[in-house]
């Protein structure tokens, strides 16, 4: 599809909606402690906002938001944040993912667990978002579109 065939209503609406979807996705990720939500759901919503831009404003311009080549590396980075948190606690004398060995000062044992959960939720959301976008990009690349 060339950019001249694109519908201005779709472009305007999706550009208006995308920031709010992303804000709500961040809320879902960081509010996972206290209510429904978490990394998987928030990551899927972030991916949805980026895919909406991919479909409406076109692959070239939506690459300003998230490049095609970023998908796999960012997904690996998310999994690395998760596994790295576990390995860090392992190195500091605890067991794998035993969060109260995290090197954060002035936090109680329970608060350290809370911080550890937040860390791995961020990792999970990065991995889910990047992989969902990467699969879409791979399919478009394979079919010669995009």
């Amino acid at each position: 599809m060339t950019s001249s065939s694109r519908n201005p209503i779709l472009i305007t609406a999706s550009r208006l909606l995308a920031p709010f979807i992303q804000l709500f996705a961040l809320y879902v990720i960081f509010h996972g402690h206290f209510g429904p939500g978490g990394g998987f759901q928030g990551g899927a919503m972030l991916a949805a906002s980026i895919l909406m831009l991919r479909l409406s404003v076109g692959a070239e311009r939506s690459e300003l938001k998230f490049r095609k080549s970023w998908g796999t590396p960012v997904g690996a980075l998310g999994a690395l944040i998760f596994a790295g948190t576990g390995l860090l606690t392992l190195l500091l004398g605890g067991r794998f993912l035993e969060y109260h060995f995290l090197p954060l000062p002035d936090l109680s044992r329970a608060e350290l667990h809370s911080a550890g959960i937040l860390l791995i939720e961020v990792g999970v959301s990065l991995a889910v978002m990047a992989v969902l976008v990467a699969i879409y990009d791979d399919i478009m690349e394979g079919s010669g579109g995009g």
Partner: protein, 97 residues
């Protein structure tokens, strides 16, 4: 072939419906998953989670605490599965440059 599979499906559906009539009610406090000890005498994890989640991780959301803390290693596996799916799509679908 289609007729046999249809009959088998209906029979399995009837069996599932019959079996589901024997399940404990939704949220039943006397259900097996809410007991202190299982039928063979081993401790049930759910009671421990409900009692200790708030104090262990300073979070009122038990689901998050079970997912990311008590069962953190399981969630790591899930993330690796997602990443593997992405990698496989990359390997199969991307044309070599």
């Amino acid at each position: 072939m289609r007729k046999t599979s249809l009959i088998a499906l209906v029979l399995f559906g009837a069996l599932l419906l019959y079996a589901s009539s024997g399940l404990p009610g939704h949220g039943d406090p006397d259900g097996p998953s809410h007991r202190e000890r299982s039928r063979v005498g081993s401790p049930v994890a759910a009671a421990h989670y409900i009692r200790h989640a708030q104090a262990d991780a300073a979070s009122p959301n038990i689901v998050t605490v079970v997912l990311a803390d008590y069962r953190g290693f399981d969630t790591l596996g899930e993330t690796i599965v997602v990443l593997t799916a992405g990698l496989v799509c990359y390997l199969i679908l991307r044309r070599s440059p």
